[in-house]
């Protein structure tokens, strides 16, 4: 019975535990509860992913109300990959969060933090498992609202303005998606994604549908921080607590990309999206701009968190570049990069969180000579940085390889050169951190700095370890990504 309802449990477990968390006044209890829930969520995700891998797409009707009138939860390979990613990141971050959150957030707010975190987890997982367009909007809003709270809990007052900025832009984005979904509903009379896919081909030639497509595209682009709608991201990542930056960098924008994939391939169909609406060319252009501009800005940043935030915008550009090719090679390269980048950025932000814990700052100037005092943390940062640059034996190299191959196969060799040149830009900004930490003479304040605690180092190195493992054996991720891409592109009618 339990197993049959797994898809619902994936969302229900964190959803129900969030208000329960609110009852736990003691921060330590709240943390323990959140950790327990994250572990359960991960277990459910693993079981679901195994089922999808073995049997194919899972379809589940909420409340046993038949589709297309009832809400359907539909998990295909892309969804399975995403729930694994989100759940795994959530589980790895929890042991880390205990020390980090205690240090960065006021005691009275810690329970609120874990509650919002559980809600955010609910929202993200819900986005990824649902097969209903409006349900997707609901979960999107749940994850967005809770992430506004999470960001605002940062240690400086600028966290509030950053959260507000994100709130405004995020609400616009979500509203646009809602408008798009509403227009779709008006024209087809259904909200179920598969049903929409079946009914849309009859009405795609109308202005209404084209407008709906445009609204959805812009709305999703805000959510996934596609250049030039990325403006909320740098501030949000910089001023949020370290754990939140890591969690969001690894999951929130990835869920945004998932929404894009769902709408473009499953709902509208690749023929309409890419051939009729030429969204591929637009995405390619924007991805190009994202990669170049964001990497350049990152080179000149002195606050390492902000540097990594801009780096994330550039990396999202890589993913979108792969997707814009609309080929199996391209989309699977985009998905692989999605997963790999989540691993890399998660590890990098967590390492920075260790630095913030001991140092109280993440500016380059304050990090002079840090490597002597925090060797393991900086070693993890270097490893993650090398993966970001795309050095062999790391996950970043694998995704870069696939991306360059896909771009070359599609015939766009200048873009291939762009991808490689931007790796060098990544080298420059990563190396600025390496030089600051390993070369300069440490200041007086550095003398008391110790290495980060094990509870924080282990999650960092776990993510780095997965990074290196994927660098040597990417077969599982590759087969899942390719299956996901095949399912998505092959979905004209299902």
């Amino acid at each position: 019975m339990l197993l049959a309802n797994l898809p619902a449990l994936q969302v229900v477990i964190p959803l129900v535990s969030a208000p329960l968390c609110l009852l736990l006044r003691n921060p330590r209890h709240a943390w323990a509860w959140a950790t327990l829930v994250s572990t359960m969520v991960l277990a459910v995700a693993v079981m679901l992913a195994q089922r999808v891998y073995a049997e194919g797409t899972i379809s589940y009707a909420i409340g046993a109300w038949a589709t297309p009138w009832g809400i359907e939860y539909r998990i295909d390979m892309a969804g399975a990959l995403m729930i694994l990613l989100i759940a795994a990141i959530g589980a790895v971050i929890m042991p880390y969060a205990r020390r980090s959150i205690r240090h960065e957030i006021a005691r009275k707010h810690i329970t609120l933090f874990y509650t919002s975190y559980l809600l955010c987890l609910t929202g993200l997982l819900g986005i990824v498992v649902t097969g209903d367009a409006f349900n997707l909007f609901v979960f999107l809003e749940i994850s967005s609202l809770s992430s506004y709270v999470l960001i605002s809990l940062g240690s400086t007052r600028r966290a509030l303005t950053a959260a507000f900025q994100y709130l405004v832009m995020g609400t616009i984005g979500a509203t646009f998606i809602l408008i798009g979904v509403g227009l779709l509903y008006m024209m087809t009379g259904t909200l179920n994604m598969t049903d929409l896919a079946q009914r849309l081909p009859e009405v795609t030639d109308t202005r209404t549908i084209r407008v709906a497509f445009a609204f959805v595209t812009v709305g999703v682009s805000i959510k996934l921080a596609l250049f030039p709608l990325h403006i909320w991201l740098p501030n949000a990542y910089t001023f949020a607590p370290s754990v939140v930056s890591a969690f969001m960098a690894a999951t929130a924008t990835k869920a945004g990309v998932y929404v894009l994939l769902r709408f473009f391939f499953t709902v509208f169909g690749s023929e309409f999206s890419f051939t009729a609406m030429h969204v591929g060319e637009i995405l390619m252009l924007l991805a190009f701009a994202a990669i170049l501009v964001a990497s350049l800005v990152a080179v000149f940043e002195n606050n390492v968190k902000r540097m990594l935030a801009y780096s994330s915008v550039a990396q999202i550009g890589y993913t979108i570049l792969g997707i814009s090719l609309a080929s199996t090679a391209g989309v699977s390269a985009g998905i692989i990069h999605l997963v790999n980048h989540a691993l890399i950025k998660g590890a990098l932000f967590l390492a920075l969180g260790c630095v913030f814990l001991r140092l109280g700052s993440v500016t380059l100037k304050d990090m002079h000579g840090l490597a002597r005092h925090m060797p393991w943390t900086m070693a993890a940062f270097v490893a993650g940085g090398l993966s970001l640059i795309g050095m062999p034996l790391t996950a970043g190299f694998i995704s870069k390889w696939y991306l360059v191959s896909a771009v070359l196969a599609a015939g766009y060799w200048p873009l291939a050169v762009l991808v490689l040149v931007s790796s060098l830009l990544a080298l420059i900004y990563i190396w600025r951190v390496v030089e600051a930490a390993y070369f300069n003479v440490p200041g007086a304040a550095m003398q008391k700095v110790k290495e980060a605690p094990a509870s924080m180092l282990i999650p960092v190195w776990l993510l780095i370890g997965v990074n290196l493992y994927v660098g040597i054996d990417a077969s599982l991720i590759f087969s899942m990504a390719q299956q996901a891409a095949d399912t998505l592109i092959g979905q004209a009618l299902q």
Partner: protein
């Protein structure tokens, strides 16, 4: 041990040694013993595979498959065997040298020095034994990354600047040009295996092949072809053992080794003849030979002079690869060995001078031969080898290179080699003259009496071995020659 296990051990041993070296951080003598045992053991392991390769056996093993269709795999063939023997033997000698150098110079952070050194040599073994271009690229990048901490060992601003140029040039060329060439090759042919006769013939047009060749030659930045050569002088900020082994032997030879492998096993000598770019790149190699020698003429800093000389000598080998005749291959392969022995001797001497007298400029070295006769005698042997005079090893390789150039009917290449020989004489012989025949009173530092003696024993030991090697290789060139002849036969 089966050959495959020995092969893996050759790569794993130096990569695992740093763990032990770091553990023995507080006990310098056991720590150094680990380095010596590792390098000695490595040389013996490599040597044990030598006879198999001569017989024609090609031990091979795959260890992973990161991307479906692309394996991390190793296979030993004659050129790889040659390179591995060279690198492992000279690592043993350099380890002895390093101990003398690092201790007399009171260098800091010696543990990390020896650790990264071992990793670098492990990467060299990986490059030497790589069975496909993918594996080679992995270890090629690993070599760049593991030598960076060695180049910037001093930790000061100079080191940092030098490190930036080093990384910038090497990673820049490898990521933008070499990786592009590799991925493109893979997408065109579906494989990256090293095969006799190459993998490109029949699958790509000569036009595309030209583009690929250009990307490869310039992408292999470690071969220091102009304009991707400036990392080599910049790397001279490193401690001299690093400059000696890595930037005279391991890193630079990894570069020209890769060039030769690509020419022989990816393009194939016969196919290269049909590629238009081959002739143009010959001109680039020739330009590098001449320009680098001209710059070397103007150097007062001994290490910088040697660095520019190396850039020039490396393009001899690049030229050989592009001469597309078997004799050219023989000359190129031989030059890898002969130049290595001579250059490492010269760098060892430069380091000996630094450690004993703290002098780096030739203008300060008047009469130094009288106080350091052993060192400067070795330097003279190295210099003669660079010029290419008997009875030194350099004569043998230059002979074959000239034969190869004549065989390819590239007479201008013959002319360039002759001019380059004269230039070599022009910048090496004055150093010998200055050392032995100039009076110390003319040194730039007046009023400071030179009271130093010879270099420390460990350093002298290393210098003697390599200088002797330079002479021995003239009389007994069979070890490298047999392997290279087999290579030339295979390339047909």
């Amino acid at each position: 041990m089966s050959p495959e296990i020995t092969l893996l051990a050759c790569i794993a041993l130096p990569l695992l040694a740093p763990a032990l070296i770091t553990a023995l951080h507080r006990w310098p003598n056991p720590r150094e013993a680990v380095t010596l045992l590792t390098s000695g053991g490595l040389f013996l392991l490599v040597l044990s595979l030598h006879h198999l390769v001569l017989q024609g056996t090609r031990p091979a093993i795959n260890i992973a498959e990161p991307i479906p269709g692309l394996k991390i795999g190793f296979e030993i063939e004659p050129l790889g065997m040659l390179f591995a023997l060279l690198a492992s033997f000279l690592w043993l000698v350099t380890s002895v040298y390093s101990i003398g150098y690092m201790r007399s110079h009171h260098e800091s952070r010696q543990t990390s020095f020896y650790s990264y050194f071992a990793v670098a040599l492990g990467s060299v073994m990986g490059i030497a034994f790589a069975g496909n271009l993918f594996t080679l690229f992995i270890f090629y990048e690993l070599l760049t990354l593991s030598t960076y901490p060695l180049v910037t060992h001093a930790g000061d601003d100079n080191a940092r600047e030098g490190g930036r140029m080093y990384l910038g040039y090497l990673l820049g060329s490898s990521v933008i040009l070499l990786l592009l060439a590799i991925v493109w090759t893979w997408s065109l042919t579906g494989t990256l295996d090293f095969r006799a006769g190459g993998i490109l013939e029949g699958t790509v047009t000569p036009g595309v092949a030209s583009l690929l060749l250009v990307l490869f030659i310039f992408g292999i930045g470690k071969a220091a072809v102009i304009p991707f050569h400036l990392w080599l002088p910049a790397a001279m900020v490193a401690p001299t053992p690093v400059s000696a082994l890595l930037h005279a032997v391991a890193v630079v030879k990894a570069g020209v080794f890769t060039v030769l492998k690509v020419a022989i096993y990816i393009f194939g000598i016969d196919f290269l003849a049909q590629v238009p770019a081959t002739q143009w790149l010959t001109y680039v190699a020739v330009a590098t030979i001449l320009l680098a020698s001209l710059v070397a003429l103007r150097q007062d800093n001994l290490k910088l002079l040697l660095a520019w000389s190396t850039i020039s000598q490396l393009s001899y080998i690049v030229l050989c690869a592009l001469l597309i005749t078997p004799l050219g291959i023989v000359g190129g392969g031989l030059h890898i060995v002969m130049h290595a022995f001579a250059k490492i001797t010269l760098f060892f001497c430069a380091g000996a001078i630094i450690v004993t007298t703290h002098k780096t400029r030739i203008s300060e070295m008047n009469g130094i031969g009288r106080r350091m006769p052993w060192t400067m005698a070795a330097f003279t042997i190295g210099a003669l080898s660079m010029i290419g005079l008997p009875p030194t090893a350099g004569f043998i390789s230059k002979w074959y290179i000239l034969l190869g150039a004549i065989d390819a009917q590239q007479m201008f290449a013959v002319g360039v080699i002759i001019i380059s020989t004269l230039l070599n004489a022009a910048y090496f012989l004055p150093i010998v003259y200055t050392a032995f025949f100039r009076s110390p009173k003319n040194n730039m530092e007046h009023g400071l009496k030179d009271t130093h003696g010879e270099a420390p024993v460990a350093i002298l030991l290393a210098i003697t071995v390599t200088a002797l090697g330079t002479i021995v290789l003239f009389f007994f060139p069979d070890l490298p020659l047999d392997l290279v002849l087999q290579l030339a036969g295979e390339s047909k």
